[in-house]
């Protein structure tokens, strides 16, 4: 009996299963430097995921980014209620709110923050307030992007003490 077809089938099956089985779902926590953004002084923060050891270990083996969430504290420094916004771009040089709104992608809108107060966004809440998730996933896969802090109503002055939780599948 010719065993070669069986052997070839077994090798192909092994290769397929190894590719499929040899993956894992990894969760990363990335804390951003705290920043304050206001109507007259828009602030941006650079996200370089390669500074995260887990990301660096797996960046060449990413199969998919499954989830990106914003968590942390959002502080409203003014008297009027407002909602904080986070905008994503691969450019870190926008200087005005208009430039950001025209060229970046809004990826997060917080619940209303009472005047001179703060809200804490946890993992589950964050998922509920993320927008344009595909853009955020693409950026996370590239690993290097910028986040701008804005708010729903001007004038604003909002503090961002936030982090990203990223879930990705990586492996063979």
């Amino acid at each position: 009996m010719n065993k070669r077809p069986t052997l070839i089938a077994a090798v192909l099956l092994f290769v397929f299963l190894a590719g499929c089985i040899g993956t894992g779902t990894i969760r990363l926590e990335y804390e951003l430097d705290e920043f304050y953004s206001s109507s007259g002084n828009i602030q941006v923060v650079e996200v370089d995921l390669t500074t995260n050891e887990d990301y660096n270990d797996n960046k060449d083996k990413i199969k998919s980014v499954d989830q990106v969430t914003v968590v942390g504290w959002l502080i409203n420094m003014q008297q009027a209620d407002n909602s904080a916004e986070i905008w994503l771009s691969d450019v870190g040089t926008f200087a005005s709110e208009a430039e950001v709104r025209a060229n970046a992608t809004r990826v997060f809108v917080s619940p209303v923050i009472p005047g001179n107060d703060s809200v804490f966004i946890d993992w589950s809440d964050g998922l509920n307030h993320v927008e344009n998730l595909p853009a955020l996933k693409d950026a996370a896969e590239v690993g290097h992007f910028w986040l701008y802090g804005l708010a729903d109503s001007a004038p604003f002055n909002v503090g961002f003490r936030i982090g990203l939780i990223i879930v990705l599948t990586a492996g063979l």
Partner: protein, 185 residues
């Protein structure tokens, strides 16, 4: 010793010649354990199944499972937070190979199958894919037509991009066998 164990396993895998068919229904429950998944924790589950065995060594099963994952936890900014582990419903079919033809006594078998796998989590899109599984099982059938069964499954659910979600399932259950032949194996 190894030969003796092999003999017992082989004996348990061969069905009784007098038990050409077996039909059974059962319920089961147990553990749902995610493998290499940082965004879930172990949970539990239960299910129902119906089995038909047209020949002693092969049976077909249809099943339904309702499972949950535990909520994953993390600490960031000194705050402990969780996310919803979610619930899975799985409706599938499988082929059982081994001593599955009915009769009283021990029955050892392997299963391989596929299922429609739907995972729902709060604030996230539903995840619906075809899942595949295989694993061993052991059932002891008593003369009263009731069988007590323990089984394990390795489940793999391919995802877009080439990776997969993997789970280990351990279930214990009870089955009722219709028309159990007298004498068994």
């Amino acid at each position: 010793m190894k030969k003796a164990i092999s003999f017992v396993i082989i004996l348990a895998m061969f069905g009784s010649a007098s038990a050409l068919t077996d039909i059974s229904v059962g319920a089961f429950g147990g553990l749902n354990i995610p493998l290499v998944q940082d965004d879930t924790k172990s949970g539990n589950g239960f299910g129902l199944k119906a089995k038909v065995s047209p020949v002693p060594m092969i049976a077909g099963t249809a099943f339904f499972e309702s499972r949950s994952f535990g909520d994953p936890e993390l600490i960031i900014f000194g705050q402990t937070m969780t996310s919803d582990g979610g619930k899975v419903t799985s409706l599938g079919v499988e082929v059982m190979i081994g001593n599955v033809g009915g009769g009283t006594g021990p029955h050892f078998y392997w299963t391989v199958g596929l299922s429609s796998y739907k995972w729902t989590r709060d604030n996230q899109d539903d995840f619906s894919k075809v899942g595949y599984h295989l694993g061993p099982g052991f059932e002891f059938v008593f003369p009263a037509s009731i069988g007590v069964e323990i089984r394990g499954k390795f489940e793999i659910v391919p995802i877009d991009g080439g990776g997969s979600r993997k789970n280990a399932l351990v279930f214990v259950g009870a089955n009722y066998h219709f028309g159990l032949p007298a004498g068994g194996m």
